[in-house]
Subunit: 235 residues, 2 copies
DNA sequence: AACGTAAATGAGGAGTGCTCACTATAAGCG
DNA sequence: CGCTTATAGTGAGCACTCCTCATTTACGTT
């Protein structure tokens, strides 16, 4: 039997190999998308053989989930730190919007993977990534509840719907940006969306007439009449 | 050389074959998703060989696009007819929301395919489906512009953002429904979302002044006038 | 009845994710 | 230092994928 010639290789600590694999995978997934990326390509970029990847990750899907989880955990932690410094319902809502937009704009490719690829994985909801994602959007609901408690927010608003409108709205709005066809003004969009959620699109109800002033004038007129003087000034 | 035995087949008009293929494909895509559906399976369900599909459709992606296009055109047409009967900005916004929710709930699987699979296809934006989709969401923007013209809507609202918030919000909100984990109250959600977009989440502005007190004062002034004396005393 | 055309075929190519029997290596031990 | 051992690492190969195309068939027309 012919001897099988195998090329030599270096053994590396598990953690380092995983980091290399994840780096290669992240770049490939980001630039080419999930389906267009092959495990063979990732292995080559990471300088190992295909089989090695399966020593650390169950399968391709698992690899993507791990990558997105690491990224999302960072994003979430940054958000939580940020929010502690801000008070007032409106400012906090604005901060959540701003922060989320920033994260999506900073890593549009990973965000797109999360939006478009992961969501329809079977068992996504049994995933740790899903749990983190829930926690992440949960923050907005907590802020709204504080707002209700402090009287700034109507107590009858549908909380989960508001949450979905904010995050779904951002997702939709940024999708053109993700496709590279448009640019986004981070601050302007944050302000606009915050404003939209807070006061809606309807024209503000006509400000109530200043009844006090009117009565004051009436009184002055009455006084003049009482004083017996017919008329004072024309116009 | 051994003769290749081929089974007999029936020739059918192009249109009928295509209808059969699309039916089989639609069912398979709907129940199993895009990636989990194989062309071999579709061919078998349609009672033909795999190669025949490629006589009518460029590739698997094209087949899905055609199916979603047919469905979406129907949805759009129904919407347009519906909207003609309704007047008033708020009622029209509410109708758009209600109709879109209905369509998504009626065909959750196709909606999910549109949301999750299609969007990240390369060249999606060069697609007819994309154009129809633009037209479809465009209707909301037109309604908002009418609202601005009629004075019902603030003229400074960011139109595309409102559009994204409505459709993105719906998408997000029904994603739990699409996964089969929750149910949706069509009318309640329509009302809530419409309300949210129209007036936001903030508590309504300043309470009206105390009219009673003002009227009392007016009456006192009138009494004074009648009595012609500086003090009149109320009743 | 023969023909031409277009429908239909299915083996096979190039690629995929993934497995597994196997080998090479570094760390721990004497 | 060698010896053992656990395990990182391999890569041929399996079962599958989408898709092509030379070939075969059925049908409307003449």
């Amino acid at each position: 039997m012919a001897e099988v010639v195998r090329k030599s290789f270096r053994r590396r600590p598990k953690a380092e190999r995983m980091a290399e694999i994840e780096l290669a995978a992240r770049q490939a997934f980001s630039t080419k998308g999930y389906n267009a990326t092959s495990m063979a390509q990732i292995a080559e970029d990471a300088g190992i053989s295909e089989g090695t990847i399966y020593k650390f990750y169950e399968n391709k899907r698992d690899l993507l989930l791990v990558i997105l989880l690491r990224w999302f955990e960072d994003v979430r932690n940054a958000h939580q730190l940020d929010l502690q410094k801000i008070s007032g319902t409106r400012a906090r809502v604005r901060a959540i919007i701003h922060r989320h937009l920033s994260a999506v704009i900073a890593d549009p490719d990973l965000a797109r993977l999360l939006f478009a690829e992961i969501r329809d994985f079977e068992y996504y909801r049994e995933t740790e990534l899903y749990q983190i994602s829930r926690q992440y959007t949960r923050v907005l609901i907590d802020v709204l509840k504080e707002g209700i408690a402090s009287g700034e927010v109507r107590p009858d608003i549908p909380l989960t719907l508001v949450r979905d409108v904010v995050f779904g709205g951002i997702e939709h709005h940024v999708s053109s940006f993700l496709s590279g066809y448009a640019d986004i003004d981070l601050n302007a969009v944050s302000d606009d969306l915050c404003d939209l959620v807070m006061v809606g699109i309807t024209v503000p109800a006509a400000p109530p007439p200043d009844i006090e002033a009117v009565v004051d004038r009436l009184e002055r007129v009455a006084d003049r009449l009482e004083a017996g003087k017919p008329e004072g000034g024309g116009g």
